[in-house]
Every structure is written in C-alpha cells, then in structure tokens.
Amino acid sequence: MTRVNTGIVELDKILNGGFMRGDTAMIAGGAGTGKTTFALQYLVNGIAEFGERGLYVTFEQLPDQIYRDAESFGWDLRKMENENKLMVMCTSPDVLLEPAGKDILGRFIDQIRPSRVVMDSLSHIAMFVPERELRREAYRLLMYLKTKRVTTIATYESSQTGAMSLSATETGLSFLVDCVILLRFVEIESSLRKALVITKMRGSGHDKRLREFEITSQGIKVAEPFTQYEGILTGAPRRSMAEAFTDAFKKQRRS
C-alpha cells in the first residue's frame, strides 16, 4: 500500500510514512488548535513537494478568508488555483447532503482531478442533519470520496472539555474514518501548549506517544514526544518519575 506524505516531516514519521492512499483521516480538536492549518499544509505540500493536486471544501469559512490566512504562511492559494493545481469550493452542507449534490462535488473533482481532498468540517454537517442521521450521511459523503480514489482529511471540531477523554468526537464519527489525529491544548507549568496524538490508524502501526506541536510562520512543526511529563491529558500533568529523580539528584548535589 502506497503512502501519502503529509510533508510535515515528524508527522509522517509517526504515521509510519504518511496516510495510506485512498484513506480518510480525521483531524479533531477544539477551536484554535490548528486543524485548518494542518489541512491546508497537507494540500500545499502535496502540490509543492509531490505534484499532487488538491481540492479544499469549506462549509463555513469563505475562500477569501482562507486565501488570506494561508498567505501568512507564505502559501499563495490563488496562484495555485490559477495554475489549476488547487480548487477551493465553498458550499453549505445541505447542498452536499442532497443526493444530486454529489454531482456538484464530482464536477469539481472531475475539473481539478485531485489526489488530496480536505473537507472542513464534518462538524458543520451536524448542524444540518438530526443526530441519529449524522453518521449515515457523513458515511455516504466519505464513501463517495473513496470512490473518487482521493486521500481525504476531514476536520472535526471537538470539545476540549473532558480532558481525560481520548475520544475524537461525541457522535461516533471516528468509526467512519481510517485514521484519527487528535489535537489538544495542554497546560504545562502555567502555559498553554499544543499536543497531538494519533489515536487510530487502520491497517498500520503508528507512534502512540503524545507530541507537542507549534504553528510557526512556515506552518506546523511537530516536536519530540513529551517525555518529561506524565498525565498531560488529565489536565494535571506532573514531572515523570525519571525527571523528578534527576531534579532531586541535582538539588542534592548543589546543597
């Protein structure tokens, strides 16, 4: 099975080389954790580094706003669109939920022939369908994309409450996707930092450690695992035993 590199070096390493081609990955996290930046970088790297065209489907944010946000990372999406390497489609979820709405999406896909698609976000679909139908409708949409042989990232805005929980969504949508990347804010020594963890990857091994990441002027940078702390997702992290012992040893030597 071939892999689709995200182009975010450390992320590709922990995904054992990237997403599996044709799979759907979900990036779930609270507001401001960086879901859209991850998704955009996946498309931009696909175009710039791997010659793979991309389609970005946005339900809420207008393309104009996305172009502007991308510019702050040096990504010129308008130029990519003019070169037929990218398309940004903006619609309401109810259009894609109509059986014939798939034809509109299909027309964009036929026009740009993307290898990578971003659906931003699945949580907006939840605003248009009753909860009991959400899973079925999301499944229909994601399966349609699979028939088009594209590798999809779907974002999902999840609640940050319930710090202990590793569940990406409250609606069972994570069962529909092949890979789940969970983004969280974590508080360490009174500062708010960002962490990610892969909680699911069908048919492949992956690194299960929690890692810090930053949003820099060039995009997302994923760092080494948090080895100095334990219980980060509990909301009350503590120094790991090894770190605590080293600190105590240093203090003992100084006294």
Partner: protein, 99 residues
C-alpha cells in the same frame, strides 16, 4: 443608452447586488443555496432573492437545480465577457490623454 451602460446600471442598481458581486468575485468557488449565500453577506434569503435572480438574468451567475435545491454559482465565462464589455465601455468614456 448602449448595452454596456444598461448592464452596468442594472448590476449596480442595489447595494445587495454590489455585495453579491463582491462575494462571488472574491470567492469564485462559491456554490450555494440562496440561504447560504445570504448568510455569507449577513442577510436573509428573502431579502436577496430578487437581486440573485437579476444577476442570473444578466448571466453573471448561474442557477442550477440540485435535487430539491436551487444553487447559485458564478458563470466564469459569461462573467469575463461582461467584465470585458464594461471595461471597454469605461475606456470609451475616459477622456483621451494628449501628449
């Protein structure tokens, strides 16, 4: 009054139409129902419906039936054509510059 002038007058006959033109030009990948379009300019579907239909009539926007829904999108080819007619008209209005 020539055709270009008539088109221009009709395009700019209301503030809502101007907002719609800006919205679709800045967001050429927008494909939405009247309610979705209206939300994106902070209005309601019933207040923009007539102007949307007028832009469809002018050929700048296209309306398509998607199942039970009517969606609106920019007609890129026709839009370029209209823009070029208007640009020519504006050029013809500007006084020629002497050397």
């Amino acid at each position: 009054m020539n055709d270009a002038r008539k088109i221009l007058d009709r395009m700019l006959s209301s503030g809502i139409k101007a907002d719609l033109l800006v919205l679709f030009h800045k967001n050429p990948g927008l494909v939405d129902v009247a309610d979705g379009v209206a939300r994106r300019i902070g209005r309601t579907a019933d207040t923009i419906e007539a102007d949307l239909k007028d832009l469809v009539d002018l050929g700048i926007l296209r309306m398509e039936q998607v199942g039970k829904l009517e969606v609106f999108l920019l007609d890129h080819a026709k839009d370029r054509e209209v823009q070029s007619v208007i640009a020519d008209h504006i050029k013809s209005l500007s006084p020629s510059k002497g050397v």
